[in-house]
Symmetry: C2
Subunit: 141 residues, 2 copies
DNA sequence: CAATTTATATCGTAATACGATATTGTCAAT
DNA sequence: ATTGACAATATCGTATTACGATATAAATTG
């Protein structure tokens, strides 16, 4: 009984440690975004656009999916990015209902700086995250 | 030149893929919390309390640190948790300035359900996260 | 042509968290 | 015993974000 309880407690601790690590990463990321002069959401959008598989532009619908947002929330986010001159809209030639979003030079520069910092940080904390995930895999079949 | 650009593009793609996976996890987590009748923040607080190393209660300051929140934001969160009968406050005997927060039965029950779901989900997506983190480690020395 | 898709727009709402600031109670050290 | 630091609580206003509901317009597709 005591050992069963211990196991469950260990499970909570591992889950909590994982979330704690995640929160610290997110906190780092938000701070980094702000020092770069953008909001965290704007940063994430820039990355989702530039880091889209195969392309470096996306439609509004694609961006919404990558950011796990509703379509019309994404439109609002893009509006703010355009206002800050971080991205630009270009109507698609293939399908004129679609609008392609891509980074401006300012957006590129901002994202480049942030991505370097994040890459560094993820290298730093990656092992901890991985080890916690492995621990979860071994706990409780 | 083309290969250098390709490398950089790959870096963005990996970073973006990592954030995408993270966002889907967080989205899953938020949906799960809501179906369990709590807000995402309340869920995270419950886990941070129950999963605190060694103990299963925490002071307000400790909780603030684990959640990466300001002290007085944490007080507000605890107020809402108390109002929902998910946690209770107990003044510490060792140091009467401190207040220990612990889960009620309802809090325990709610967290248990959510933790099982999250454990499952993390087992599912863990490998993808790990492989993305590894890819970041190999990219760009 | 009709139905669907994509993007945009508007309005009100909700959830959070923050800064700034203050107060209360407790502890610890001199 | 007093003083200074610490922990928790409280209040107020602000900001950010995202949502649902709903509508419109333009373009595509069958």
């Amino acid at each position: 009984m005591a050992s069963a309880k211990k196991l469950i407690k260990a499970e909570y601790e591992t889950l909590a440690a994982f979330r704690y690590a995640l929160r610290r990463f997110i906190h780092f990321s938000e701070t980094a975004a702000h020092t770069a002069g953008v909001t965290p959401q704007q940063h994430q959008a820039l990355l989702a656009i530039k880091g889209f598989p195969e392309r470096d532009n996306v439609t509004v619908g694609e961006l919404a999916e990558r950011l796990q947002l509703r379509h019309h929330s994404t439109v609002g986010l893009i509006d703010r990015l355009v206002a800050e001159k971080l991205v630009m809209r270009t109507p698609s030639n293939q399908d004129r209902r679609r609008v392609l979003i891509q980074l401006t030079n300012l957006g590129e520069k901002t994202l480049e700086k942030l991505s370097a910092m994040h890459h560094e940080q993820l290298k730093r904390i990656g092992p901890e995250l991985t080890s916690l995930l492995e621990k979860l895999n071994s706990t409780k079949q």
